[in-house]
Symmetry: C2
Subunit: 419 residues, 2 copies
C-alpha cells in the first residue's frame, strides 16, 4: 500500500512550527509496512488542500491529511474536503454531543465556535476523539482511503493508534519492508563511511543503508524489502552483522535507543548511581537523563554550577585552582566530577565545563572548547573536546560526548555480554 | 515571488529525521517576502526528485531542493537534476580543490567518495560551501530559479544566508508580506479564542490571524499583505493593538521571543539573580534558561534534586515535612525555592516538584500534578497545576508554567513600561 501525507497549516509554511507530525506519521506507517512515497505541506487554503488531495489520490491508495480541523476560522480542511469531493457538510448531532461532553467533563462551557467541529462531509465516517474536540474523518471509495486528522500532536497520535492504524493493517499485505536503525556516538559521518568501506557490495535495490547525522550522533538506517518476512529479516541481519563488526563500541544501540537510555540500563545493571555537575551544558545532561522513565532509580541529581561561586561552594572546587587554571580546565572538570559524586552521594560523577559561546572565547580556549570530567571510587579524569557550533548545538554535542564518555567508562567495568 | 521547497531523504519519509530544514527555510523565505506555497518531501530516488521538480517549476518561479548532495551512495540529487533537466554532470576541478582543502585544513585525508561532490550539472553554478564539503547549486533560466542545497542544517543555513538569500532579495519586489508573531503563556487556545471574540470583523483575505499551539504556549501569527510596506505595517499594527488590549499580561513577547529570554531581560532590568531547584522538570528549566547567551549575568545555577536525600542535604528541605506531606506538596515546593535562593545565593528561587509519570501517580496526586514554588526576600509561595501529558510534554509544560509564574512575579515588581 502506497501512502501520501498532506500536512496543512500556514504555520508550517512560514516556519513557525516544525513539522513533527510528518515524522511521527512516517515512522508509524513505515512500522506497519505502508510505504510513504511523499509528504506535501500546504497552507490553510481550501484550493491548495484540494489540489494536493487530487494529486495524491492519483498516486497513492491512502491519503492522510493532517491539520485544519480545529475550531478557529483558519481551520479549512472540512470545507476543502467537501468542496473537492463534491460533498455537503452535515452537522452531526452525535458528534456535537461528544464535544459538549468533552467540555462538561472539564467543567468549562463549550465555546460556540467549537460547533463547527461537528460538521462532517457526506459519506465520511467520524473517528471519535477522546483526547480533544476534533474528530478524525475516514472515507473509502473505489480509489482508496482518505483520512483527515487533527494537527495537535497528541490528538493525531491517539487517533492514529486507536482508529486509523488498526483499520489500515487489516487492509495491507504482500510486500514486506523491514527496517532497523543502528545508533552510533562519538564518530562522524565520514569516519563511519571509511570504517564501512566495502558495504556497497552487500547493497542492492532491496537492501539499503542510509546515514542520518544528528546532534547526538550519526544513526544508520538499514532497510530490506522482500516478498516474505524471513528473507527481509535474513538480509537485514547480514547487513547488521557487517556493520557491528566494523564499528565496535561506537554502536550505542538500535532503533529508538538513545545514549541516555543505554547509560540508564548500564547503571541499573551495575547497581550504580549517578550525579552530574554541569557548567556549559547548563542542565541539558540532567534533562536528557530524566527524560527516561524510572531514572530516579539511578539518578541522584545534578548541580548546574553556572557561576564560579557555585562551583566552589556546592561542588568544593579549589578556588586557587579555579583562579590559576580557569573554569574551563582539566583540573576543574575533575574536581567538579568528584564534587558531584561526593555531595550528591553517588557512585559516579560526571561534569562539563566549556565555552558555549557565542562570546567568551579566547585564542587559547576558543568557543567550542569543553572539558568533560568523570569520577568514581577508583578513578578521576577529564578529556578535552573541541565542538565548534552554535550555542544550542554545542550544548547538545557536549551532552552527547559526556554521555558517551560515561557509557564507554561503564562498558569497561562489565563483560560485553551484559549489554 | 512564489517558491516551492522540495526536501529530499528517505529518513524524512520513514520518520527518522524531523524536517527542521523545511521550517527554517519557510521562516527565511517569509522574512524576505517570498511566498512559500508548498513543501514537498520525497525519498532518495531520482525519479521522485525529478517529478517533484517538474511539478514545482510549473507553479513557482523559485524551486529550492534540499538534501541528497552528500558523499554517500544514497545521495542522488546531483544525478536527478542532470537527468531531469537533460544536462550532463561535469567534474569541476576548482570545486574538487576546495573539498580537498577543506579536509587538509582539518588534517584529515579526503575520502575517495567525496569526489562525487565536485560533480556539477552543466549550466549550474556551484555555491562555495566553507562549512562543509557539499557545494550548493544555482541555475536560472526563462522559467525561473532552481537551487539545490545540502541537507545538513548548518551547511544549508550558511549557504542560504551567504549565497542564496542575497541573490533572491535582488530579484523580488512588488507585493509586500509582513508578519508578526505574538507569544502567549499560561492560556489555552480555546480561552484565547474567547478573549479575542470579534476579531474576525478585522480580518479579510489580506489580513489573517493563526493560532499556533505548542508545549510552551500558544503563539498568534498575524499576517498582512499589501501593495506597499506602509499599508501592510498599518494593518498589522491595528490588529496587534486589538489583540494586546484583549489578552493583557498573557502576552509574553513578539516574534522570536521566548519565556526564558523575556525572564532574562526582566531579571537584568531589575538587577536580580536567579537560582532553580528542580525535581520533576529534571533540569529542563535550567537548560532553557542557559539557552540564552549571557545568562551567566543573572543565573547563579540550579540543583536537580531528583532523590529526596538531595532535597534534604542540598536544599535544606525539612525531612519531617517531606515525610508528612510527601515530596509533591506545597510545603516542599516552598522550601525548595527558599533553599535554592539561600544555598545558591540568589535573589529569587524557583522550584518544581511533581509527578511526570507514566508511573508514580495516585488517586490523590495523579500523574501531571505539579507544585511550583517561588521565593524572594519578601515572599515565598507555591501554586498547584494539573498538566496531564506524556513525560516529555509534561516537563515542557511544567517548565513553561514555572517560567511564566516567575515572569508574572517579576512584572509586579516594576512598572509595565520597562518591559
Amino acid at each position: 500500500m502506497r501512502a501520501i501525507v498532506v500536512t496543512i497549516g500556514d504555520e508550517l509554511l512560514v516556519g513557525d512550527t516544525i513539522n513533527t507530525n510528518a515524522a511521527w506519521l512516517g515512522a508509524a506507517l513505515s512500522a506497519c509496512g505502508i510505504e510513504l512515497v511523499r509528504i506535501e505541506t500546504v497552507g490553510d487554503d481550501p484550493e491548495a488542500i484540494c489540489q494536493a488531495l487530487r494529486r495524491a489520490r492519483q498516486e497513492a491508495s491512502l491519503v492522510l491529511l493532517c491539520g485544519g480541523l480545529g475550531p478557529t476560522h483558519d481551520d479549512r480542511t472540512r470545507e476543502a474536503l467537501a468542496m473537492c469531493l463534491g460533498r455537503s457538510l452535515q452537522l452531526r448531532e452525535d458528534i456535537l454531543s461528544q464535544i459538549e461532553a468533552y467540555f462538561r467533563q472539564r467543567q468549562r462551557p463549550m465555546p460556540e465556535r467549537n460547533r463547527v467541529q461537528a460538521l462532517v462531509p457526506e459519506g465520511f465516517e467520524p473517528l471519535v476523539n477522546t483526547v480533544g474536540t476534533a474528530p478524525g474523518l475516514w472515507m473509502e471509495d473505489a480509489q482508496g482511503v482518505v483520512v483527515a486528522l487533527p494537527g495537535v500532536p497528541h490528538e493525531l497520535e491517539h487517533l492514529m493508534q486507536n482508529a486509523v492504524l488498526p483499520r489500515l493493517t487489516r487492509r495491507t499485505g504482500r510486500r514486506v519492508v523491514q527496517q532497523r536503525t543502528l545508533i552510533t556516538a562519538g564518530i562522524g559521518e565520514s569516519a563511519l563511511q571509511q570504517q564501512l568501506e566495502g558495504v556497497e557490495t552487500l547493497l542492492d535495490e532491496n537492501l539499503s543503508l542510509a546515514y542520518l547525522p544528528g546532534p547526538y550522533g550519526v544513526r544508520l538506517r538499514l532497510t530490506a524489502r522482500a516478498h516474505n518476512a524471513e528473507t527481509a529479516q535474513q538480509r537485514l541481519e547480514q547487513l547488521e552483522a557487517f556493520v557491528r563488526d566494523r564499528i565496535g563500541t561506537a554502536l550505542v544501540g538500535t532503533n529508538g535507543d538513545t545514549l541516555e537510555a543505554v547509560v540508564g540500563r548500564l547503571l541499573r545493571a551495575q547497581g550504580k548511581t549517578l550525579a552530574i555537575a554541569e557548567s556549559c551544558t547548563g542542565g541539558h545532561i540532567a534533562d536528557r537523563i530524566t527524560d527516561i522513565s524510572g531514572a530516579s532509580a539511578y539518578f541522584q541529581g545534578g548541580i548546574v554550577a553556572y557561576s564560579n561561586a557555585v562551583k566552589v561552594t556546592l561542588l568544593g572546587v579549589d578556588p586557587q585552582i579555579l583562579a590559576r587554571e580557569g573554569a574551563v580546565s582539566e583540573a576543574v572538570a575533575v574536581q567538579m566530577a568528584q564534587g558531584a559524586r561526593q555531595y550528591l552521594q553517588a557512585d559516579v560523577g560526571l561534569a562539563t565545563t566549556g565555552i558555549a559561546g557565542p562570546t567568551g572565547g579566547t585564542a587559547e580556549k576558543p568557543v567550542g572548547t569543553v572539558w568533560i570530567g568523570l569520577a568514581d571510587a577508583q578513578n578521576a579524569y577529564a578529556r578535552q573536546y573541541y565542538l565548534p557550533a552554535d550555542r544550542l548545538r554545542f550544548k547538545q554535542r557536549a551532552t552527547a560526548m559526556a554521555l558517551d564518555l560515561l557509557r564507554q567508562h561503564l562498558l569497561q567495568a562489565i563483560p560485553a555480554a551484559v549489554v
